[in-house]
């Protein structure tokens, strides 16, 4: 036998040892892993860190949180690489349920998006309605002397995240074709997370749609100087939901049977419990002087405060329910 052949055998053995060692470790020695694909806004504010710490102290499960945009989170779930998705884009969620990938949806929290912009507000949008504000931004953008693309006054996530689909939604509600807007020389798309996008908007002194959680975190610690110009309007409502990935997807049976459905449901029941709902509502109050999120479970049961709850129902309910009967799989107590 030649030297390189002997060495190759050693290499193959070493590779097998690394792989086998990892598999043995994760299957027999580590806690069970539960994969959560989540939108960046929940993660970047530190809320999920808090929840993870509390959950892992009381449960024999290792939460593996992969923070991506809503679009990618849904894709991970379709590939069977996530057991749970935590997202904020009702239209995307509806498709996800209809395609049979997700079950047992629960609305867990809400807050508002905000439109931020430069201090001197050259487009004059402060205090206006969304439609007027977007009109103002388009008029200002089109009136700029420099139309070469050097001066950009609107920064978009451009990453198919929940925030990005909200932005598309707002443009079309205001009567604009989103495709046309993206071609404007004053429109910039970052393709990155909320934090990176806010930083870019800040550097460019541009307007930008942001979730209030990430915005407050960056604004409070002085990373960005852009004030929030429009807040708490019905069309800026932001609703976070959790869904378990279905273990019985007809299209991908072999992949999805490995989903940890029971662990996923245990985590969902934990998220909707009164203690954790309170934790969500209180999160950030000390640091930012206001809640970043409001737990939605009890308000939806009480049907109060109004008109907020009817806004949530208008925006994020499907056929009058947060999860219509055909998209449920056991755990009826979640919906009583």
């Amino acid at each position: 036998m030649q030297a390189w052949q002997k060495l190759l055998i050693v290499a193959a053995l070493a590779t097998i040892i690394v792989v086998a060692g990892t598999l043995v470790y994760f299957n027999y020695f580590a806690k069970r892993r539960l994969f959560i694909s989540t939108t960046t806004s929940l993660y970047d504010t530190g809320l999920l860190d808090e929840i993870e710490k509390d959950y892992e102290a009381t449960h024999n499960v290792d939460l593996n949180i992969v923070a991506v945009g809503t679009g990618i989170a849904i894709q991970h779930a379709q590939n069977g690489d996530a057991d749970i998705v935590l997202v904020h884009s009702p239209s995307v969620e509806k498709t996800f349920l209809e395609d049979g990938y997700g079950v047992n949806r629960k609305i867990i929290a809400y807050n508002f998006f905000t439109i931020v912009g430069p201090e001197d507000d050259p487009a004059g949008i402060e205090g206006k309605t969304i439609t007027e504000a977007l009109d103002g931004i388009v008029a200002y953008g089109d009136s700029l002397a420099d139309q070469s693309g050097q001066t950009q006054i609107w920064v978009s996530r451009g990453d198919n995240s929940g925030t990005h689909s909200k932005e598309k939604n707002l443009w079309s509600k205001a009567g604009y074709d989103y495709e046309t807007i993206t071609q404007k020389p004053w429109y910039a798309s970052t393709g990155q997370g909320m934090g990176a996008t806010l930083n870019i908007a800040n550097e460019k002194e541009a307007y930008c749609l942001a979730d209030i959680g990430t915005y407050l975190k960056f604004y409070t610690d002085g990373s960005i100087a852009l004030p929030a110009l429009i807040t708490e309007e019905q069309s800026l409502l932001n609703v976070y939901s959790v869904m378990a990935v279905s273990p019985t997807v007809a299209a991908n049976q072999s992949i999805h049977e490995k989903i940890s459905f029971d662990d996923a449901m245990e985590f969902i029941e934990y998220l909707v419990s009164p203690e954790i709902q309170q934790l969500i509502t209180d999160f950030g109050k000390d640091t930012y002087g206001q809640s970043l999120f409001t737990g939605a479970v009890q308000p939806l049961k009480d049907n109060a405060p109004q008109p907020l709850i009817s806004w949530v129902q208008d925006y994020a309910f499907f056929d009058g329910s947060e999860c219509p009967q055909q998209y449920r799989n056991g755990y009826a107590d979640l919906y009583t």
Binding site: Q2, A3, F35, N79
Partner: protein
Amino acid sequence: MADVLGDIVEALQLIVTGDPEILGIVSRSLLFSGTAVILAILWGTPLAMLIAMKDFRGKTVIKTFLNTLIGLPTVVLGLILFLIFSRGGPLGFLGLLYTPAAIMIGQAILVTPILVSIGVSAIESVDPEIMSLSKTLGASESQAQVAVLKEAASGIILSDLASFNRAIGELGVVLLVGGNIAGFGNRTDVLTTAISRNVQIGETGLAIALGILLVLILFTINIIVVVLRKANYIVELAKGPYAKLKRSRETKR
């Protein structure tokens, strides 16, 4: 970027006080990339020997191909490996996605072209006389190949260090197949991904601290290379067996 100075001060404080978060991230980086490079050395060295010592058709094509792969964008390899390791992919049944093993194997594959390519040049530049000389002295084919390999040691060690540099500084593979999972369980976040994440969430001080440490690690490795070269240590080391052979040939005469 309001308070850069404050962030830098915070970064230095974190480093000096040996923040456990930072120590964890640095040690994961060293462990994952170190194991990856060891794996790559184990399978890259025999491949380099095979390509350099055997004559076969298409040798030039393979060498050119390897040289091209050296510059492969890490995120492209990351994407390919993600699709392979994903539960829906060909190796999905192993359940390796988002585990350290996926990162180690991914980075090992990433640096293999560098190792093999530099390794082939190093072996080919060894005096061909050594092979025949060892055989004359009664060495088996295998022993003769090892003798040549020892002669090429200096080049091979340099390629190992270059590989480690690339592995520890890359972002694409470790982000896509590792998932950058932080938290309190089994983590897969390393220096590069943690820097990216912490800039994203406004923890600039922590990001700067990690950046400083990453650069320090790279700097240290390069100092080692320079020192080794300057002391001519590797050359002497490599010359060892050849000199021994020569001596023994002379005594035989």
